[in-house]
Amino acid sequence: MVHPSDKLRRFGSRSDGRKRCQVVRTINGDWRHGPTLQWAGRLHLTLWFVSHSHLAPPRRAPDSAAQPAFSSTQRSPERRVISSVIVHQCAMASLISPYLSVPTAPGRARLAAPGAPRRRRMAVVRAKIREIFMPALSSTMTEGKIVSWTAAEGDRVAKGDPVVVVESDKADMDVETFHDGIVAVVLVPAGGTAPVGAPIALLAESEEEVALARARAQALSQGQSKEPSPPHATAAPGPPPPAPVAPQATKGIATPYAKKLAKQHRVDIAGVVGTGPHGRVTAADVEAAAGIKHKQKVAPPPPPPPAAVGPAPPMPVLPPVPGGTVVLFTTMQAAVSRNMVESLRVPTFRVGYSMITDKLDALYEKVKSKGVTKTVLLVKAAAVALTQHPVVNASCRDGKSFSYNNNVNIGVAVALEGGLLTPVLEDADKLDIYLLAQKWRVLLKKARMKQLQPNEYNSGTFTLSNLGMFGVNKFDAILPAGQGAIMAVGASRPTVVADKDGFFSIKSEMLVNVTADHRIIYGADLAAFLQTFAKIVEDPEILTL
């Protein structure tokens, strides 16, 4: 006998009443699956394994409110006998704007409209052209193959109509649209594959917008394209376009993986210069091609790069480590790398300062219960100090002027798995510590979910990096491009201190090290700023005002 628990198995949770139910019909074969879908709250999938050896109707899970909808497809006799699995799916937003993580998958991000994916939706609504995305049909699905389009270009479709059959790594499934409209352009034809989240078709709301959608598709395919906004507060000034690579004639020989990648990233393999053995195109070439292309397309975003600085010398490539493993940068890591190299153009210097934190620690103990963290206190202290030293809050954009900022926006470096982000606490000088703490919690959560909006990570005027929680004594931060100074905070630790009367005592001492752009901030400026900062830290009552 099989255990009752095996007779019926549920994956995922039922959606609430607001969500519309849809059935994903299995196309060929009867075993289907799709637990733990990555629709992030928009789509829940419930999977029933219906026992075929029991004649009793399948039990439903106790909390399921809705009747599971069974496929009404005519089945051959044996199919009817088996009818082993019925995939039942409840969706609120089936296809439009599934949640996308901030560009970890390069292809996905590149195909996206400019700006963060979550903003795309708003932009889309304005244009009344919606993108139909490759849905994530299973937890392991990274790309999907279009088996067939059930709707053709020009077809008018209604909400809930199946438009496309997608083959995932698991199954073939009918996928429905969640909006009325006209299928304007099919971006990925039947037989093609696309990574999860990539647009596979454009849906126009009316006839007039079909042409608009076509134009957009053209733009998409040409400029496949826009560089993903680096998810880093230290957004680099646009890298100078590298010398265009003269397309060389290749014999069109590409390795299997290179072909797969090219298809995924919509890279025309004929245009890729192969650097592999015998001039073949390798996976690395395709990735490089995808990378090179988007760099070429990018218009230098403001601020413009300093005119005085010439193009960066090409990075020397070291020979590979024998026997080692090569792991390519994620988009985020690539952005970090680019920004770090960029930072070498700025003449920086560092000033260190030690300060007693006993009072700050005491304050922290008091406000801890209200959710205020040490970091928030330090941000507030820095913000207050910055208002008195506006030059430290300024930046040098062009190498010949000071750009003073009206706001004190403090970015705080946050380590993420496989990357680094600096969410920005805007107007840190104006908000009280409780509001700041609240704001910080929201930002942190968003950062971890990779849902930060660009203004939430690239509007910083000053950055604070705190490694104190690791017990780091002191360290040196690299100045992010577009800012005047960055503060590196170490741990505060008990230290024997002699006061001016010669008395020894043990105080908690913290070392702060600020890196600044010497074009605008001079040693005395930084020293004065640090003195103010230390005063605030040592007498932090002002922070609670």
Partner: protein, 560 residues
């Protein structure tokens, strides 16, 4: 026992049609042509119920051949087996059990292809590839809460593992035969006349022995189509590939059957990219189409593999003078040149050709068919005139009935049964086959199209049921829910026609089905067998339970 009575009737009917059926058995083509339904019923467990007259007839026939077990009768040996592969080994062991004085002639190494250049070392490589896959599957590891940092491998270490395994199994085989008193004669065996074999160095067989019965078990070698130049370094067969002297960045595998598929699993796990070249229109042509489709989804599409189907590799030139391996592809139908591939290496896995040259078959008026030794359903060698050559049998790849190591062994045991005076016909439809990819594929009996064709011809209905590994607790615990099991059966009688499995440990799971076919167990009976919970075997349990029969009065079923 109503059911066994029915069996004995049809069994004798089968025997009486023996002559006609041997014709059918020799039909070339499909791998399981020799298996007819009736044969399923002559299995050992049912022998007790066979008509006594029939048994006596078989005994008499055996005695006329001069093969009464135990008596030397002027011969050096009761049984001489040419070829000490898995088939010969199985036959030798069983012969000793039956009390026959047995010798085995081996011109190369004991163990044959399977142990030295086939199943055994490839399993060692696949064991490595399976682990590499697991370790590299970050998603999989993470979902189980495991963390591993950049796994790598040492090619020589992997190669040594395969080699060590082969030598270990080889010495096991040798020792088991020595311990039982089988004489292992070294040299190439040639049949020089009736019941007479010479052996010695190739071309100079200098020692002659006589044997009451002779079994040819010389096996096969990799088949290399013309136009393909093998250099053993960049263009090679499975023989070389198993030594794993290199792991090329990009390897073309010509042929997408078991061998090609298993090697694609090994090479992609070790970091190579693979291009399949398949002459037929779809990959994995020998498999049940539904299984092949799923296998493509699980074993091909997500990996660094592409493929060309419907093309022949008309010419393959090894890498030399700084040029890569060149593979010219022509359309399988129009023969027009289609494309030239440039790869780092090419593995030729286009099947295997019988190794029957130098056997001296001409001395006894036997003509091979495409190299295969023609045999009847009892593995008795047929001469050019279609008559049985007395006291001469051929088993395994050399007869081409079903080119699998365990099939050879089963045929060998069947032959020994016969020469011990017990008539025996092997049911080839009950022989399972497995492909040790990750996950594994296994099968027994007919594929769905074969079953439907047979059903059309014989006028019965066919039903198919399937179960998923996704519904299996153990598979889910292992996080290996990919896979299905598929049962093809007759809804009127409950007879199992075929079972196909793709999924975790499919190769180990198939035996419940193959035993059921061998023993004639029907769906309505096996569904009451109990399976431990939670085990993967419940996939089959569910499968049998899912099979519904047509309601019919008086159908024989197990009394309860």
């Amino acid at each position: 026992m109503q059911s066994t009575a029915a069996v004995s009737v049809s069994a004798s009917a089968t025997a009486s049609r023996g002559g006609a059926r041997s014709e059918a058995a020799r039909r070339p083509g499909g791998i399981r042509v020799c298996g007819l339904r009736g044969e399923a019923l002559t299995c050992p467990s049912l022998r007790i119920s066979q008509a006594p007259a029939r048994l006596a007839a078989a005994r008499a026939a055996a005695a006329a051949n001069g093969a009464v077990a135990g008596s030397g009768g002027g011969f050096d040996y009761d049984l001489v087996i040419i070829g000490a592969g898995v088939g010969g080994h199985g036959a030798a062991l069983h012969a000793v059990e039956e009390g026959l004085k047995t010798a085995i002639i081996e011109g190369d190494v004991v163990g044959g292809t399977c142990v030295n250049r086939g199943c055994v070392p490839s399993k060692a490589l696949l064991a490595v590839s399976g682990r590499m896959r697991e370790l590299h599957d970050e998603h999989h590891m993470k979902s189980m809460g495991l963390q591993v940092s950049s796994p790598g491998y040492d090619r020589q270490g992997v190669a040594d593992h395969a080699n060590n395994l082969a030598s270990k199994i080889r010495s096991n085989l040798t020792n088991s035969m020595k311990a039982l008193g089988v004489d292992i004669l070294t040299g190439v065996g040639t049949i020089v006349g009736k019941q007479k074999v010479r052996y010695g160095k190739a071309g100079f067989p200098d020692k002659e022995i006589t044997a009451r019965n002779i079994i040819i078990a010389t096996g096969s070698v990799p088949f290399v189509p013309k136009g393909i130049e093998i250099d053993g370094k960049t263009v090679f067969t499975s023989d070389h590939a198993l030594k794993l002297e290199s792991v090329p960045d990009w390897i073309a595998i010509v042929g997408s059957g078991y061998i090609g598929l298993e090697f694609s699993d090994v090479y992609t796990a070790l970091g190579s990219e693979v291009t399949f070249v398949e002459a037929l229109d779809q990959l994995m042509p020998g498999f049940d189409p539904e299984i092949a489709k799923l296998a493509q989804r699980v074993l091909i599409n997500p990996r660094k593999i592409d493929y060309h189907t419907g093309v022949f590799a008309s010419k393959i030139t090894p890498a030399k003078d700084g040029k890569p391996v060149l593979i010219e592809l022509i359309d399988a139908k129009t023969k027009e040149h289609k494309e030239t591939l440039e790869v780092d290496a090419a593995l030729i896995a286009t099947g295997r050709a019988p190794f029957t040259k130098g056997l001296g078959l001409e001395n006894i008026n036997v003509v091979t068919q495409r190299g295969f030794v023609p045999v009847d359903e009892r593995m008795r060698v047929m001469d050019a005139d279609g008559n049985v050559v007395p006291n001469l049998y051929c088993i395994g790849d050399a007869n081409g009935k079903l080119m699998l190591a365990h099939a050879a062994s089963a045929q060998g045991i069947s032959v020994v049964e016969q020469i011990s005076g017990k008539d025996h016909i092997l049911n080839h439809l009950s022989i399972p086959a497995a492909c040790f990819t990750h996950p594994e594929i296994s099968m027994v009996g007919l594929t769905e199209p074969q079953a439907r064709e047979k059903a059309d011809k014989e006028g019965f209905e066919v039903n198919v049921v399937k179960t998923s590994f996704k519904a299996n607790t153990k598979a889910l615990a292992e996080n290996e829910g990919d896979g299905i099991a598929k049962l093809i059966y007759r809804p009127d009688t409950g007879e199992i026609l075929g079972v196909h499995i793709l999924g975790l440990h499919a190769a180990d799971l198939i035996h419940e089905a193959s035993n059921a076919i061998a023993l004639g167990t029907r769906v309505q009976d096996i569904k009451f067998a109990v399976h431990a919970h939670p085990t993967l075997s419940e996939v089959l349990d569910e499968l049998f339970k899912a099979a519904k029969l047509q309601p019919r009065e008086g159908r024989d079923s197990k009394p309860r």
